[in-house]
């Protein structure tokens, strides 16, 4: 974020002051009388802003509300706006059937377990690399970092096919390890952590060296604690991405026993589409598999908003 915006800020801020700004001085406030206070917002603007936000929030929440409404409603009944928006009685039956039919318990364990294993591997590979790029000087640093950045351009669909061949050759197709291994390194995570670690003052690292701390001790007891906020942010991103991943599990997890939550849900949908789909059951399954990512997101929400600006992912 900061690099691009920073570069543009001074000149862009100056331009309107000398040029268009002065011309627009009178045109800018067409509806307000001369006595209107400068600090007060115009009422129509505020109203429009709140109307826009209300519509936006309603649109954002509608599918979630509908999911909850459908999951709690009676099974196999089409609902419409004509029916009471609040269910007259709560049915938990759909949840029980969804849990059994889609084997959601096993899917949730697989999904959360695989996502956490991926996170552990990604942190284990990204933290040392980010530290090397941010705090050490060595020959070939720019080239190596460039190579990491270049991998950000390679879409996962390009690597999916050869990775499938690799994983099959290792005998790991249709295993949980096969779901984890290809994601062991995340170039984006290395990049974001490196950006954050470059803000650690050189004096801190110098002090550590003078105190006789080696590379490993410096990493463990100085850099990692200082970079904790960034590590938390990238961890949330990593978990959400892995938990919601669909294409790779679709290719690798062929047997139902190791289906990830999105896969289990998609299969429940496919299985039911031949007959009249039981949307109450599907909505219940969708709700259950959404819970882990929503929980992580709600807990980390505040950190994410600030973290995106801090780690440079914005631009």
């Amino acid at each position: 974020m900061s690099a691009g915006t920073d570069a543009a800020r001074p000149d862009a801020a100056r331009a309107p002051r000398g040029g268009a700004g002065t011309r627009r001085r009178h045109a800018a406030r067409p509806e307000r009388g001369p006595g209107a206070g400068r600090r007060r917002l115009p009422a129509p603007g505020t109203l429009a802003r709140w109307a826009l936000l209300a519509v936006g929030i309603a649109a954002a929440l509608l599918p979630f509300v509908w999911m909850l409404r459908t999951a709690l409603g009676p099974p196999q009944t089409a609902l419409s706006l004509n029916s009471n928006p609040l269910p007259s009685e709560v049915h938990l039956d759909s949840f029980r059937r969804a849990w059994q039919d889609a084997d959601l318990g096993s899917a949730l364990v697989t999904g959360v377990g695989v996502s956490l294993a991926i996170l552990a591997l990604q942190l284990a590979t990204a933290i040392p690399a980010a530290y090397a790029f941010a705090c050490l000087r060595f020959r070939g640093r720019a080239a190596a970092f460039g190579m990491v950045l270049a991998t950000l351009l390679v879409p996962s669909q390009i690597t999916a096919v050869p990775n499938y061949v690799t994983i099959s050759a290792l005998g790991l197709a249709d295993t949980r390890i096969g779901l984890v291994l290809p994601f062991m390194t995340q170039a984006g995570m290395i990049f974001m952590l490196r950006q954050y670690m470059t803000t650690i003052p050189a004096s801190v690292l110098d002090a550590a060296r003078i105190d006789g701390l080696g590379t490993w001790r410096t990493l463990r007891s100085i850099v990692v604690p200082l970079a904790a906020p960034a590590i938390a942010t990238v961890s949330v991103f990593s978990f959400l991405l892995s938990y919601n991943e669909y294409l790779w599990p679709l290719l690798v997890a062929r047997s139902p026993g190791i289906a990830t939550p999105p896969l289990a849900l998609a299969r429940l949908l496919t299985d039911s589409s031949s007959i009249i789909p039981d949307f109450a059951e599907l909505a219940a399954a969708a709700l259950v598999i959404s819970l882990p990512s929503l929980a992580v997101f709600v807990i980390a929400q505040r950190r994410l908003a600030t973290g995106i600006a801090g780690t440079g992912a914005g631009a």
């Binding site: 000149d11 331009a15 284990a124 050490l136 879409p155 949307f279 909505a283 969708a286």
Partner: protein, 292 residues
């Protein structure tokens, strides 16, 4: 110092080389063969796959669908996301609740949401979408089963989620604009729409260029919504490029070689798009520097 850095970088580079760079290079090779997913035998066919791709009417359709999908998602998502970010930035009371609600679509599981949207756009007259259009007297529509509505509905689901992502990035961009800039504008009497046009939007221009490229690349690679909502149907009317690649390589006759070529051509287009964005971004900055 060198060996220490090497030791620190080694684990990351094992992962990158084995699972990203290596496979990307293998893809380039496989794209020149007639390899199938099943069976070990394959032959070098040179540029035959590339020529086949340019003559493939199904791929041509998929490209058109992908472009239509991009048009229907990216432009509304960027406009709405920006408008919502501008509106939400100035909210003081209930700030975190507003943000939480608008962040939700991007964090939600896309497969779960696609299932919910499939229900909202159910073909029965009692479905939510049909009830709404019924209010203005339109007969029930088979949204996902009609060749003319399937792709727009899939795009709507993609756009719903994308708007939330655009909102997050613009919000971060807006918070990076210092208050002092607005105060200076206020002193000069620049407010309201004039301020938006001459101060806020120019300051957001780098974010906009980045978003335009990033969001378009993401959208071009659309897979989940199509896979869950329509499986490319009806009559292939909503098959996107990546979904077509999946069909070619992982279903039917498992033509991995041809699928790799499709992915490679898409990567070439993506890199061109990214390079175009980078050039545009640099030119924007230079124009602005010259103007100042």
């Amino acid at each position: 110092m060198g060996w220490r850095a090497a030791a620190l970088l080694l684990p990351a580079f094992v992962g990158i080389v084995v699972f990203v760079i290596g496979p990307a290079l293998v893809s380039v090779f496989v794209a020149g063969t007639d390899k199938a997913l099943t069976g070990p035998r394959f032959h070098w066919v040179g540029t035959a796959n590339a020529r086949a791709a340019f003559d493939d009417p199904d791929l041509g359709d998929a490209v058109v669908h992908t472009l239509v999908y991009c048009l229907l998602t990216v432009i509304p998502a960027v406009v709405l996301g920006l408008a919502l970010a501008l509106a939400a930035e100035r909210v003081t009371r209930g700030r975190s609740l507003v943000r939480l609600a608008l962040f939700l679509p991007v964090s939600a599981n896309i497969v779960a949401m696609a299932v919910v949207f499939a229900y909202i756009f159910d073909s029965s007259p009692d479905g939510l979408a049909n009830t709404v259009v019924g209010l203005v007297g339109i007969a029930p529509v088979d949204w996902l089963g009609d060749t003319s509505t399937a792709l727009p509905v899939v795009a709507l689901v993609g756009g719903w989620r994308l708007t939330s992502l655009v909102f997050i990035v613009y919000l971060a961009g807006l918070t990076a604009i210092p208050r002092s800039v607005y105060e200076a504008a206020d002193v000069d009497g620049i407010r309201g729409l004039a301020r938006l046009r001459h101060i806020t939007l120019p300051l957001l221009a780098p974010t906009s260029v980045f978003l335009g490229v990033f969001v378009t690349i993401l959208t071009v690679q659309t897979f989940e919504t199509v896979a869950v909502l329509t499986k490319g149907g009806p009559l292939n009317s909503s098959t996107t490029i990546i979904y077509y690649m999946y069909q070619v390589g992982f279903t039917g006759s498992f033509r991995i070689g041809y699928a790799s070529m499709i992915a490679l051509l898409l990567l070439a287009a993506t890199v061109a798009l990214g390079a175009g964005g980078a050039v545009l971004g640099r030119r924007l900055r230079r124009i602005r520097a010259a103007a100042a």
